[in-house]
Subunit: 232 residues, 2 copies
DNA sequence: GTCTATATGTTGATAGAC
DNA sequence: GTCTATCAACATATAGAC
């Protein structure tokens, strides 16, 4: 049911379709060409619109970027969830090319119904590895994440909910894996859900500073110490 | 030897003294009143100078903020290192009041000579707990950390070196503790040095968004899973 | 629905008086 | 060394033409 959040302006089929197209293209552009405190005008030009034209669809710069981050999660979910093997996450430009999906497919990763521990680990790591190929998106995410600390920021709610969903998935997966004896019994799922999120976010900062820093390896190391056996 | 890095403009005793005084006051102001994308003018007024007066000591806004972060580390080091019990880290405003110290005291926490595992853990946690009382500094740190991803940013080198020092301390402490059988033998010190840094930085983001998130508890949980016995 | 043009505001930085 | 005054550069948002 992708109807609830997408209502903004005209909200007619045509309008929201264009909106989605803009977001897809923006994602692609930022992923490839990077984000460096980009202005609305720059981004507008990049997606083939004027500033005014772009702001016809988004009320403000901050809302635009928030929408981009939402769309990004949507795309990542569709790519790295559900199927054991993603269709074709080849290279960097895996975020555009038409409609990636109103397919309700990927809600496993961040939903409460919950992926299994293995699914969550694999999906989480896949997204993180993918991030290494879209530096601009990582930078955009981190930048907005800081700004969104302000409750008045349009992305405040987005980051709150996103974090909650992510951690909820971890809590369930960890608890289940614990019950199955695969995760140490002395780990508090709620606490380590936060730790996973923190490691992921924190490694992004390190990686932006030092591209050699291996984000996925660090997260993987955390999985390793929490699990009782060596899987895979 | 605090002489090497402090050379900038006039660099006469009087000049650098005033510089330090400005930084101390700026720290105090930001810690108490918060940082919200503060402009140079605002900060200048807060420290009792005009914009021009302030920029007499710092070439640019970015260099000013970089210097503030440097000073902050210096103060934290002096406060939460060396003595088993800090003098009086009471409340929030523990960062000003005269000269906190050219005292060469605290170089343990981030130096290669290295604190012991317990010292590092206690100091690290103390700094993190202290951070909860200076939200403005946490926000400033995170904001500049993102911007400093750009190699051209004045703080780029600062964050690189800071990260290296911090992780080096962790690598040594973890390795030593491992040799003593206090830390699991299957943890890679270098890898987990990154993980500690990531958890710390990542928890700051969560805490800025949700002040109820317990930064120290998360880091402490990581210590707990890595150690073989329950210390405390 | 999209563009051009503009209003409005702010910022960082500089020049020059005192 | 510090202040006042000012600049030039942008950026966002809006208004109005097409």
């Amino acid at each position: 049911m992708p109807a609830s959040e997408d209502r903004r302006r005209g909200s007619y089929p045509k309008g929201i379709a264009k909106r989605e197209e803009i977001l897809s293209r923006a994602l692609d552009v930022i992923a490839r060409e990077g984000y460096a405190g980009a202005s609305v005008k720059e981004l507008a030009a990049a997606v083939g619109l004027s500033q005014g034209g772009l702001l016809h669809y988004f009320d403000s710069k901050e809302e635009l970027f928030t929408a981009i981050l939402r769309k990004r999660d949507e795309v990542d979910l569709a790519l790295f969830d559900g199927p054991g093997e993603p269709a074709a996450p080849s290279g960097a430009g895996a975020a555009s090319s038409g409609d990636t999906g109103d397919s309700d497919a990927g809600t496993v990763l961040f939903s409460t119904t919950g992926p299994t521990f293995d699914e969550l680990r694999d999906g989480f790591l896949a997204v993180i590895r993918h991030n290494s190929e879209v530096p601009g998106l990582v930078q955009l995410f981190s930048r907005v994440a800081v700004d969104a600390a302000d409750p008045a920021h349009p992305a405040h709610g987005f980051f709150l909910e996103r974090g909650e969903r992510l951690r909820e998935a971890f809590v369930h997966a960890l608890a289940d894996a614990q019950a199955a004896g695969r995760v140490r019994s002395d780990v508090d799922p709620a606490m380590f859900a936060r730790v996973y999120q923190a490691v992921s976010d924190g490694m992004q900062l390190q990686w932006m500073l030092e591209p050699d820093a291996d984000m996925a390896a660090a997260v993987d190391a955390l999985f390793a110490v929490l699990t009782t056996e060596e899987s895979s």
